[in-house]
Structure formats: structure tokens, C-alpha cells
């Protein structure tokens, strides 16, 4: 008779994830039992409290002595701490934006334009399900970059994706567009997940192991069927590259960014990138580090076409959310450049970039939520003309964030780009650096075009205005502005912290 050995889970290391999941469950219960009147406040408090508590736990375990938890299916090492912390900070700012319920439909289940929807609107209902959904997504994002076996990775991927599919369809205005986006995101997400899973199966076939460490050993020994390794590697990459919206797996991005309620877009754009790149870093730096000869040329091509495609197509965009979507595609290319470097400075630079980009992105979308007319947000760029004259502060913040995207000195974006490109250069990948600098020069064109539009063009008289932001939205805007400037002028503390912390444990 075999004895049952209780698995050592190391709850302490899992605390951030467990707290967030607990908060999510609590939110579901609150949704079911609390009266409609107090629900929004309670749900917001639960969500924020949970995230802050989880962030505190991440801070507590930053020097943890034992590193693997849950039977080695996750590893809590330096990069894990940094990525989890970034996800949580972004999530807190994201919840600040989500708290502005004006962007969400009142009754997600009702058909657009149906009597039920009108009734719900008249009754002044609020859509509070979005808070627990956010928390579930955050839990998945916390797990994704720390998972060290393929099954856990897949579970984390689904846990983070499913709530996002739903959240994308919750927009109050232009609901058909929003629902279409949600459905597209879901279908394509499922498609790419299948690739991910299929790739996992091939890798299991190759190495006989599901853990990244096991795959690493097999790659090192170059045992097993190489064809399985290559197919597995390619398919796994498809799943990951889909999530980070690299070309040619990007097609969903503009539609979903445009269709989803802007607070959700903000959260999704910033946090998903961190989680997905976190996982990508871990997989490529640990499991496949010795197979770089196979994947590096591949990712180089992807990085080059992603950067160029994103930058060039963004020029032609007339919608601010679509422009930001293509910009996010271009940034995915820059980040892949960091992954490609495959050295310590590449790792540090990518983590810094993720954080800086995430903060700037959430701030930029926060401002998009503020520019409205009588029928909701105004995303047509031409109608942003003259914003600098009407709301100089908001326009200045937006301009600063755009300059950060463009990588102009004294913003976080410059430090991020410079460190990522020099890491890539250090690794000898000079061609990709040249393309990177070239496409950031192209990209600067459309960022600065928006600035010109805001400051140097006369306003149209069409009712577009900047609404007075709520306290929470204002906090998001100000924090993202301050962090972007601070990291541009004094990046050393954070860079040092990242560089001393970020060491992968195999």
C-alpha cells in the first residue's frame, strides 16, 4: 500500500495569488447577496483591498529563501517578484479606471437595444461583476509568469484569458462593436490556446517531461526527437506571440482595443503584456536557453516585422484607440528584441520596459476615457484637435506619455528603449537594433502628429470636451505621468533594484 505524501505547497509563496483568488470569490459572493445600492462600493473596496494586500505579500516574499512552491510547478524567483509586483500595480491603476462605471453596460446579458437593456438603464443598475472578473484575470496574470511546468502555464493562460474575453464585451456604448470584439478575441484566443496546448504535447513527446527544467535537461543533452522539439517550440511560441500581439498574430488587437470598454483596454493592454512577456522570458531563458540557435532567428524575424508593421500601419490610423493598438504592436516588437538578447541585461531591460510601458499605457488610455462628447468617448483623432488649448494639463500629460512611447529622453520610454537596444547590441544582434531604432523613428512620427494636433491645430466646435475626471481616474493619470517622468530622470534606483533582483532560477 502506497502512503499518501501531502504535497508541500508553500502557501507563503503562493500568498499573492491565493489572496487575489480569495478576493475574487468574495466578490462573487458579494454579487449574489448584497443589495444593489451598496454593491459598487463594496466590490470596489474588495478589489482594491485584495490587490493592495497581494502587493504587500509580494513585497514580503521578495527575499524568500525557498523558491519553488506547489511541487515545483511554480518558481518564485527575482523576475517572478518583479513581474507580479508590476502586474499588481497596473491592476490597481486599472481598477481605478474600471470604477468609472459610465463605460460599462448596465446589463451585459441583455441584447443591445432590447427592452431589458432600457429597463436596466432606467433603473440605474451598475455592472459590478467586472470587479471579480478583473481579480480572476489578475490571478491568472500572477501565475503565468511564475509557472514552471507546461500544464500550470496553460491553466494560468486560460485563467487570465477567459475573464478578459468577457470584459471586452461589456461596453455601454457601441455595444455591437464591443460584443464583436469579445467574440473575436475569444475565438482567436481559443485557437491560439490550442496551438499552445499542441506545442506542449510535442514538447512532452520530445523530453518526456512537462516541467521547464526537464525540457532544459533534454535540450542540453540533445536527446529526443529534434523534430518534436522544433514543432513544439513553434506552436508554443504561437500561443505566446498571440498574447503579446506580435505580427502575424496581431490581427485581433486593434479590433479588441477599439471595441472593449476603454478602462478594460487599459488594463488588458498593460497587464497582459507584462504577464505574457514574463512567461516568454522564463520559457526562453530557462527551458530553451540552449536551443537558442533554433528560436533566435525566428524571433528576430518576428521582432523585425512586428516593429516595422506596427509603426508603419499606425501612421495611417485615424482612431486614437486603434493608433494605440498598433503602437502596442510595435512595442511588442521592441520587447521581443529584449527577449532575443538572451543575456542578463536583456532580462533587466525587458522587465524595466514592461513596467514603464505598462504605466504609460494605462495613463494614456485613462486620458482617452476623459475625452468625450454627448454620446460618449471621442476616439476620432481629428476631433482631438486643439485639446491643448481647452485642457492644457490633460493634453500635456498625454503628450508626455506619447513622448515616452516614442522614446524621447527624460521619459521612461527613452531609458527603456536605450537599455533594451544596448542589451540587444551587446548580444551581437546588430541588425535588429538598426531596425528597432529605425522603427522608433517612424513611430515617433505618429505620436508627435497627435501632439501637433492637440497643440497646434484649432479646435473644432463639435462638443468634444474633457470631462472632469473622478478622483480615482485623476489619480491614475497623475501617477502614470509622475512615474513616467521620474523613471526618465532618475531610473537608477529601479534599474538597480531590477538588476539585483532579476535572476532566473531554473
Amino acid at each position: 500500500m502506497t502512503t499518501f505524501i501531502a504535497p508541500a505547497l508553500s502557501y507563503s509563496l503562493l500568498a499573492p495569488i491565493l489572496i487575489v483568488l480569495g478576493g475574487a470569490v468574495l466578490g462573487v459572493i458579494a454579487e449574489a447577496f448584497l443589495s444593489r445600492a451598496i454593491r459598487p462600493t463594496v466590490q470596489l473596496s474588495i478589489a482594491l483591498g485584495t490587490l493592495v494586500l497581494a502587493l504587500a505579500q509580494v513585497w514580503r516574499i521578495r527575499h524568500a529563501s525557498s523558491l519553488t512552491a506547489a511541487m515545483s510547478s511554480v518558481t518564485v524567483d527575482g523576475p517572478a517578484i518583479l513581474l507580479q509586483g508590476s502586474v499588481l500595480i497596473i491592476a490597481i491603476l486599472g481598477v481605478f479606471l474600471i470604477a468609472d462605471q459610465d463605460h460599462f453596460t448596465t446589463l451585459a446579458a441583455a441584447l443591445p437595444g432590447s427592452p431589458e437593456e432600457r429597463d436596466a438603464q432606467r433603473a440605474g443598475e451598475k455592472l459590478t461583476e467586472v470587479y471579480p472578473l478583473t481579480l480572476f484575470a489578475v490571478a491568472g496574470m500572477l501565475l503565468f509568469p511564475i509557472a514552471t511546468d507546461l500544464i500550470t502555464l496553460f491553466v494560468a493562460l486560460e485563467v487570465l484569458s477567459l475573464p478578459l474575453y468577457l470584459m471586452a464585451g461589456l461596453s455601454r456604448r457601441r455595444r455591437l462593436l464591443s460584443q464583436e470584439a469579445a467574440l473575436k478575441y475569444f475565438l482567436l484566443g481559443a485557437f491560439s490556446s490550442a496551438f499552445f496546448l499542441f506545442g506542449s504535447a510535442f514538447l512532452y513527446g520530445y523530453s518526456g517531461s512537462l516541467s521547464l527544467a526537464g525540457i532544459h535537461t533534454a535540450v542540453e543533452a540533445s536527446s529526443g526527437n529534434q523534430v518534436f522539439l522544433l514543432i513544439g517550440l513553434a506552436f508554443l511560441s504561437v500561443g505566446l506571440l498571440f498574447k503579446v500581439s506580435a505580427v502575424p498574430f496581431h490581427a485581433w488587437t486593434p479590433d479588441v482595443y477599439q471595441g472593449a470598454p476603454t478602462p478594460v483596454t487599459a488594463f488588458m493592454a498593460a497587464a497582459t503584456k507584462i504577464a505574457a512577456f514574463g512567461a516568454m522570458l522564463r520559457i526562453f531563458y530557462t527551458a530553451f536557453a540552449n536551443a537558442y540557435w533554433e528560436w533566435r532567428p525566428l524571433l528576430t524575424i518576428i521582432a523585425v516585422i512586428t516593429m516595422l508593421f506596427g509603426a508603419v500601419v499606425a501612421i495611417a490610423q485615424r482612431d486614437i484607440k486603434r493608433m494605440l493598438a498598433y503602437s502596442s504592436i510595435a512595442h511588442a516588437g521592441f520587447l521581443i528584441t529584449g527577449v532575443l538578447a538572451l543575456n542578463k541585461s536583456g532580462l533587466d531591460a525587458t522587465i524595466f520596459y514592461l513596467f514603464a510601458y505598462g504605466i504609460a499605457t494605462i495613463g494614456a488610455f485613462a486620458i482617452v476615457t476623459l475625452v468625450r462628447d454627448s454620446s460618449g468617448e471621442v476616439t476620432d483623432m481629428n476631433r482631438w484637435a486643439g485639446l491643448g488649448k481647452r485642457s492644457p494639463f490633460i493634453a500635456t500629460v498625454f503628450a508626455t506619455l506619447l513622448l515616452a512611447f516614442a522614446g524621447i529622453p527624460l521619459t521612461s520610454g527613452f531609458i527603456g528603449k536605450f537599455s533594451i537596444f544596448s542589451a540587444a547590441y551587446e548580444s551581437g544582434n546588430k541588425a535588429v537594433v538598426v531596425v528597432g531604432v529605425l522603427s522608433s523613428a517612424i513611430a515617433a512620427y505618429f505620436y508627435i502628429r497627435v501632439i501637433v494636433l492637440m497643440f497646434f491645430t484649432d479646435p473644432l466646435d463639435d462638443g468634444t470636451s474633457v470631462v472632469i475626471p473622478s478622483i480615482l481616474t485623476r489619480a491614475t493619470v497623475i501617477i502614470s505621468f509622475a512615474v513616467t517622468i521620474f523613471l526618465g530622470v532618475f531610473p537608477t534606483p529601479l534599474l538597480n533594484f531590477i538588476s539585483s533582483t532579476a535572476i532566473f532560477i531554473r
Partner: protein, 629 residues
């Protein structure tokens, strides 16, 4: 040596700009005075540092100040530090000195503008950024100033953005400058990757170990940066259009300071160019092309500011040519830069004064005979004119002749070609500047009955007089006892090796004077002896037509860069819109029509997205296969 004062050079104007922008309308009453005082304060700090430098031995004069450690991770070390040496002090005094005069001038020039305070805030911002550019002790710090200068100039050129031509002007300036910035960032990146450092001292120390190939690459990228900022061929097209801004801006940015940043960059990087002869030769060639290019355009322009802008382009061509001639040329390039700072800024202010008196008319064909109505403007403009065409003993004579002389003395075909180009440029300069002066101040009145030309107020003419004094005396001062050459020697050591003297200095001077006289003579025959038609004649030679169209620079850019770029973007958008924009249009139809369309459009387009993913996956596998074969 260290000095704690350097930071105040930048901090004073920066503080002014921040205060004026943040405090808003409250500072309307005294904001312009504060801004002027702060700019003068920075000039004071500069003078103090200069006097301190003079009191030290020649090789002890450079001072540094470390502000804080900007980026410091592993091998990636950059301090935010300032460095003031013999080269940068020249710029500091020019920027703050001329800058302060232009501040004073602007008090009167902009007195009717409701947004005068904002204008002064931008002026101060510009001064701060320009000082950071010349004081930074590394390429990265320089880059911060470089971008800051770009931003401030953008704000200033666009200050009167009600002008409809502004949008294209700004866009053009922006594109040219982005290409330049791309060059600078690539240069920084290559230098960091090959030399492991981006500080001037570090690059200078390590330049010897790098391969010539890498240094040539850095040099060429720096040259690209310089052509963008300094309006050199082939990125020169923006300068003429940037004249849409207020005239003091043109004097400050487009004559004395920003456009010289490229020259500064090249001379600051002398250790790179000296080790990369190919890049250096390229610098000289670009300079020679631009000096002729600008001069030819200058001959055909009827807009007084555009004529001056073309002239600026041409004069900076001389500086770049000087910088491309290597160690013997650096000091003369700087000398021409400084003298040009005086006389061109003075002439721009003069042009502003004329426009002020003529209801903002810029067409020289509608001026004429103004010397009686604006005697001070005429006198100061005239002194600047004598300086720019190189009449002894005015400033331009010393600096320009030296560049021509050094160019000839390069020897060989190179020397003859470059020298001849410089000499020819001098003749054309004499022609078009005479044309400007004659059409504006001499001849018949050609203006409307409504115009009442009058002299400008003292606040405007005093700066003009001071600049005119500089145009008269500076050349002599700089060459007296080889003072500027010796002063700059520690930074840009002149080549000690014996150089061939193809032409004696006296011969060059005589040659130059002869061609200048020819140029002046032709212009007088054409524009003083004959009547100047008020409307530009259309029956002119094809060459004039081409010159009027800026030597087809816009047509060239459009055909070579813009159209293909648009085509590429359109093609990419087309491939994308077949799947993406189509979907959006589908939704637009759908929201109008019935819900049943929904199913059809969606399945169709998601299928094509999925197709992309599938093709991508197949592509990945194919690529992996190819790589591992």
C-alpha cells in the same frame, strides 16, 4: 576642476520658463522682464566662468560638474554631468549674450501680442535646452538638450499658428529633424556598443581602439544628425519654411544658435572625425554642396526672411566645410560660427524691424528706399551686410577668408574643388546680399500708400546696434594674435604637421575681394541701375525658376521619399484593411441595419484572422526548419 555654478546656467532660464508657464496669466505683467533678467543672469554666470577660465593655465581651463548618476546598471553608466571647456564657453557666451539681446528686442516686438508671456517662457526654455546641449558631458546629455531644443523650436516656430502655411512648415521641420535625431541616436548606440561609453572623455580615450569602420559609421551618423539640425544638404528643406515664426525666433534659432548645433556636434566629436577620414571628407563635401545650394536659392528669393534663411544655410555650409577640413579648420569654423552669430542675428532683427515698420510685409519687391525712413536699421543692417560679404575689416572677412584659404591648402584636386566652391560661394553671397540691401533700402519706393515706414523703438534698435558692433569688431578680435585658435587648441589641437601652402593668405584675400566686388557689381547693375518690378517677372530663365522653387528640393523630397513612403503605407494598410477596416465598416453597416448581418460579417472576418495565425504558425515551422537544415 569642478565648478558648482554650471548648473545655474541652465537652471536660471529653466526656472523662468517653468514659472511663466505654470503661474499663467498672473505673470503677464512682468513675465517678459523676468525672463529677460534670467537670460541676462545666465550670461552673467557665463561671463564669470569665462573670467575664471582666463585666470587659469591653458590646460586647466575645463571645468565639470556632476549632477547625479543618471543611468547606472552594470556596464551601462551615464552621469548627468556638465562640462564647460574652451569650446563650450564660446557657445555659452553666444547663446546667452545674443539670446539676451533677442529677449530685449522681443519685449518691444511682441508687445502687441496677447500671449507675450508664453512666448518668453518658450524663449527661456529654448535657452536652457541649448545650454544643456553645449554643456552636456556625454552624447546622451547632449541628446537631451538636442531634443529639448527641437521641442522649444517647434513651440516657437508654431507660436503664430494661425498662419495656414504653418502646418506644412512644422511637418517638414519635424520630419527632417527626426531623420537627424535618428542619426544621433544611432551614433550613440554604435558608440556605446563599440566603445562601451557615451561620455566625450570616454569616447575620446577609447577612440583609438575602435576599428576605422566603426568610427566611420559613428561619424556618418553624427553627420546625418548635423545635417538635420543645421539644415544641410540633403535635409535642408525645412529652414526656409520655418520662417513662419516670429522674427526674433528666426534670429535666435535660425541664425545664431540652434542651426549651429550640428557644427558644434561635429567639432565636439573631432576625435572621431580625425580617426575616420572618409567621414571627415564627407563632412567637407556636404558643407561645400550646401554653401552653394543655399547661395543659389538666396539669389532668387523675394521674401526678405527667406533670402536670409537661404543665406544662413549657405553660411553654415561654410562652417561645416571648415569642420570637415580637419584640425586646421575647426577653429575657423567656430570663428565663422561666432561672427555669423553676430551679423546674421543682427540682420534678422533688422529684417524684423523693417517688417515692423511695413505692416509685416516681407516681399522685398514692395520695399525700396527705406534708408531714409529707418536710418538706424539701415546702418546696422548695412554693417552686417559688409560683414557677411567679407569686406575688410569686418568680421566675415577674417572668418570666411580663413576657411577658403584652408580649403585651398588641403592640396590636390580636393583642395582645388573645395576651395573653388568656397570662393564661388563668396561671389554669390556678395550678389544676393547686395540684392537684399539694394531692394530694401535703396532705389524707388515701391510700397503701398497705406504703409507708413518708421524707425522701430529703442528697445528694438539697441540690440541691433550691439550686434552690429559685434559684426564690426569680432573678426579682428578673434584673429588678433591668433587668439581664438590658441584658445581652442586644448580641445581641438591644430595639426602640428607642416601643411602645404598652395596659396598665400594674401593671395586668397585678394582673390576673395575680387570675386566679392564682381558679385556686388552685378547686383548693383541689375537692381539699382534698373527698376525693380513690384511683381516678380515670369519670363525668367529656367535657372531662376528652379532657384525660386528652392532648387526643386521639395519636388525631390516628394518624389523620392514621400510618394514611395505613402505608397508603402497605403499598401500595408490595404492588406490590413482587407481584414480589419472591412470589419469596422461592416459593423457600421450592421449597427444601422438588422442584427442578422452580425453573424455573417463576424464569422467571415474571424476566419481570415485565424488564417493569418495558421499561416504564421506554418511560417514559424518553415523558418525553424530552414534554420536548422
Amino acid at each position: 576642476m569642478t565648478s558648482n555654478l554650471l548648473v545655474y546656467l541652465i537652471a536660471l532660464p529653466l526656472f523662468g520658463s517653468a514659472l511663466l508657464l505654470l503661474a499663467g496669466r498672473k505673470t503677464d505683467k512682468w513675465g517678459h522682464l523676468l525672463a529677460t533678467a534670467l537670460s541676462a543672469g545666465a550670461f552673467g554666470v557665463g561671463l564669470y566662468e569665462f573670467s575664471q577660465m582666463l585666470s587659469r593655465a591653458n590646460d586647466q581651463r575645463a571645468v565639470t560638474q556632476k549632477l547625479f548618476s543618471w543611468i547606472s546598471v552594470g556596464s551601462f553608466q551615464v552621469d548627468a554631468g556638465l562640462m564647460l571647456d574652451q569650446l563650450s564657453i564660446c557657445f555659452v557666451l553666444l547663446i546667452t549674450g545674443v539670446g539676451t539681446l533677442i529677449h530685449i528686442y522681443s519685449i518691444a516686438y511682441m508687445s502687441h501680442d496677447r500671449d507675450r508671456r508664453r512666448f518668453f517662457a518658450y524663449l527661456n526654455l529654448f535657452i536652457a535646452a541649448m545650454l544643456l546641449l553645449v554643456l552636456g558631458d556625454s552624447y546622451l546629455n547632449l541628446y537631451v538638450g538636442w531634443e529639448g531644443v527641437g521641442l522649444a523650436s517647434y513651440l516657437l516656430i508654431g507660436f503664430w499658428n494661425q498662419k495656414p502655411t504653418y502646418a506644412t512648415a512644422a511637418k517638414k521641420a519635424f520630419v527632417a529633424n527626426r531623420v537627424g535625431d535618428l542619426g544621433l541616436s544611432l551614433a550613440i548606440m554604435i558608440s556605446f556598443a563599440t566603445l562601451g561609453t557615451v561620455s566625450f572623455a570616454g569616447v575620446k580615450a577609447h577612440a583609438g581602439q575602435a576599428s576605422t569602420g566603426a568610427l566611420t559609421a559613428i561619424g556618418i551618423m553624427l553627420l546625418v544628425a548635423a545635417t538635420g539640425k543645421s539644415a544641410q544638404f540633403p535635409l535642408q528643406a525645412w529652414l526656409g519654411d520655418a520662417m513662419a515664426g516670429p522674427t526674433p525666433v528666426s534670429a535666435l534659432i535660425h541664425a545664431a544658435t540652434m542651426v549651429t548645433a550640428g557644427v558644434y556636434l561635429i567639432i565636439r566629436s573631432n576625435f572621431i572625425f580625425d580617426a575616420a577620414p572618409t567621414a571627415q571628407l564627407l563632412v567637407a563635401i556636404i558643407g561645400a554642396i550646401t554653401l552653394l545650394f543655399g547661395a543659389v536659392i538666396g539669389m532668387a528669393k523675394d521674401d526678405i526672411k527667406k533670402a536670409l534663411a537661404a543665406s544662413t544655410m549657405s553660411q553654415i555650409g561654410y562652417m561645416v566645410l571648415g569642420a570637415g577640413l580637419g584640425p586646421v579648420g575647426y577653429a575657423f569654423a567656430i570663428m565663422h560660427l561666432l561672427t555669423h552669430g553676430f551679423f546674421k542675428a543682427g540682420m534678422f532683427l533688422g529684417a524684423g524691424s523693417v517688417m515692423h515698420g511695413m505692416d509685416d510685409e516681407v516681399n522685398m519687391r514692395r520695399y525700396g528706399g527705406l534708408r531714409k525712413y529707418m536710418p538706424i536699421t539701415f546702418a546696422t543692417f548695412g554693417l552686417g551686410y559688409l560683414a557677411i560679404i567679407g569686406v575688410p575689416p569686418f568680421a566675415g572677412f577674417y572668418s570666411k577668408d580663413k576657411i577658403i584659404e584652408v580649403a585651398f591648402n588641403m592640396g590636390g584636386i580636393k583642395g582645388v574643388t573645395l576651395g573653388t566652391a568656397a570662393l564661388l560661394g563668396a561671389a554669390i553671397t556678395a550678389f544676393y546680399m547686395t540684392r537684399v540691401v539694394v531692394m530694401t533700402f535703396a532705389g524707388n519706393k515701391r510700397w503701398d500708400e497705406k504703409a507708413h515706414p518708421h524707425e522701430s523703438p529703442a528697445l528694438m534698435w539697441v540690440p541691433m546696434v550691439l550686434l552690429a558692433l559685434g559684426s564690426v569688431a569680432s573678426g579682428f578680435l578673434f584673429t588678433h594674435g591668433n587668439s581664438l585658435v590658441n584658445w581652442l587648441a586644448p580641445v581641438v589641437a591644430p595639426n602640428p604637421a607642416h601643411r602645404s601652402e598652395m596659396l598665400k593668405p594674401a593671395v586668397v584675400s585678394i582673390l576673395a575681394l575680387v570675386v566679392v566686388l564682381i558679385g556686388v557689381g552685378i547686383a548693383i547693375m541689375k537692381y539699382l541701375r534698373a527698376d525693380v518690378p513690384v511683381v516678380a517677372p515670369e519670363d525668367v530663365s529656367i535657372f531662376t525658376k528652379i532657384a525660386r522653387r528652392d532648387l526643386l528640393q521639395d519636388d525631390f523630397n516628394e518624389a523620392v521619399f514621400m510618394r514611395p513612403g505613402q505608397k508603402l503605407t497605403q499598401a500595408l494598410v490595404l492588406t490590413d484593411s482587407a481584414v480589419i477596416d472591412g470589419a469596422v465598416r461592416g459593423v457600421a453597416r450592421m449597427t444601422k441595419g438588422s442584427g442578422s448581418v452580425l453573424r455573417n460579417t463576424q464569422t467571415g472576418f474571424v476566419r481570415s484572422y485565424a488564417m493569418w495565425i495558421l499561416l504564421g504558425a506554418i511560417g514559424l515551422i518553415a523558418a525553424i526548419w530552414v534554420v536548422t537544415l
